[in-house]
């Protein structure tokens, strides 16, 4: 380990999930999807579109990857059907 650190000049990484660590533990509020309220329509996907961390999938029922979701709440704000709530 010490050797690898010694020989590294700058921070770099292959682009991959988790290159900045498991950021899910930064979260204080957790988005919860009410699947009954979700439109389940490809034409919506506003939460997927707005998520700055790209942790919401496109497949229905929608899933949020809580390993990396930082809990910003943008998805809950943008959902036109108020299907996402931020919970403690």
């Amino acid at each position: 380990m010490a050797d690898m650190i010694k020989h590294t000049l700058l921070a770099k990484s292959r682009p991959a999930p988790g290159e900045a660590g498991k950021t899910g533990d930064w979260r204080s509020l957790t988005p919860v999807i009410d699947q009954d309220k979700c439109s389940k329509k490809e034409s919506c996907l506003m939460c997927w579109l707005y998520c700055p961390d790209g942790v919401i999938g496109r497949e229905f029922p929608l899933q949020i990857d809580l390993e990396y979701c930082k809990g910003c709440g943008i998805c809950a704000e943008e959902c036109p059907r108020k299907a996402i709530t931020m919970k403690k």
């Binding site: 690898m4 650190i5 010694k6 590294t8 000049l9 921070a11 770099k12 682009p15």
Partner: protein, 395 residues
Amino acid sequence: MKDIRIITANEAAAIAASLCRVQVIAAYPITPQTPVTEELAAMVERGELNAEYLTVESEHSAMAAVVGASQMGARVFTATSANGLLYMHEMLHWAAGSRVPVVMACVNRGVGAPWTILNDQQDSIAQRDTGWIQLYCRNSQEVLDTIIQAFKISEEIYLPIMVCYDGFVLSHASTPVEVPDSVLVDRFLPSYSVSPHFQENEPMNLNPLILSDPRQDPDGNIMPGYMDLRHRLQQDLLAALETIPGADLEFASVFGRCWGGLLWKYRMEDAEHVMVSMGSLASECTIAADSLREQGLRAGVIGVRSYRPFPAEALATALADAETVTVFEKDISYGYRGALASDLKAALFDRCLQPKFSSYVAGLGGRDVRPDQLAHAAKNGITSGPICGWIDVKG
């Protein structure tokens, strides 16, 4: 036959960059920019230099652009001055942290407010702590030669280099400069074309967020934390204390000129009273030393060429027998004293040297400094030092 031209330091800098076959130049083209980039733009326009020339909307963008181009494997160059350099400040840190071999000409000028376009060294001294190598030149020939050396140094150790020279005093003054043969420059400085960071079809994310402690990357490699990378930067800057004189000696073996490496000396063999300075002001100190010698004082001069990394050991060795040391500089760390004086005093303290130590701030915003003023101030230091003062403040 030698190719000797009567040119300004700005023209010398542009010719040097061209001889180094820079591939990307990014520059903000308006004040406080100098004719360095104007010359380079003309060379690209005439087809003499095969480079991408980007006229960006700010110095901040200029530095960002050359950092990006350098990461992709291009040899890059830019130039700026004064408030333009200050506007680059964030990106200067970024360049050093990214470990890119960027070379920049810094034409030293005073910083506003109030506006001045005239010479002092406050602009680059204010960038002292950004992780860049700073080399200060005493004449236009040294500017040309140092830019060629700078590419050699920076591409060896992946550190950005600022080649600093005094605005107007050098930048706009025409003097004879020998332009080296491009074949020799190619031999001294082979082409730089391979990015150390990227391989084809293998995307990398440079400078992702990192945290305080080492951590596994997605491939399971343990990568350094922030402090470990900063420690490496510091170690490599200190190691440049070897690389800089090494490049100067290698340059001498090819071109027959060398510039002292980390510092240069004038009449130091038996000197008891030493003036220490940087850039053209150090050159002027040599005239003051001559006049002090005529008055029976054993005076000498040390010109600091590499300000960062700071050659503490070399300076302390050179000043081991000095009775008095007088620093002249065109900058000040407001609220204390000149930056060079502080650094030099610390270097002497570390080695238990206690010469009578005086320092003067001079020539801010282009105020003329004459050799007789330097000699007079040095003499005051000898007879009634320690003095911490300014030269020629009116009123």
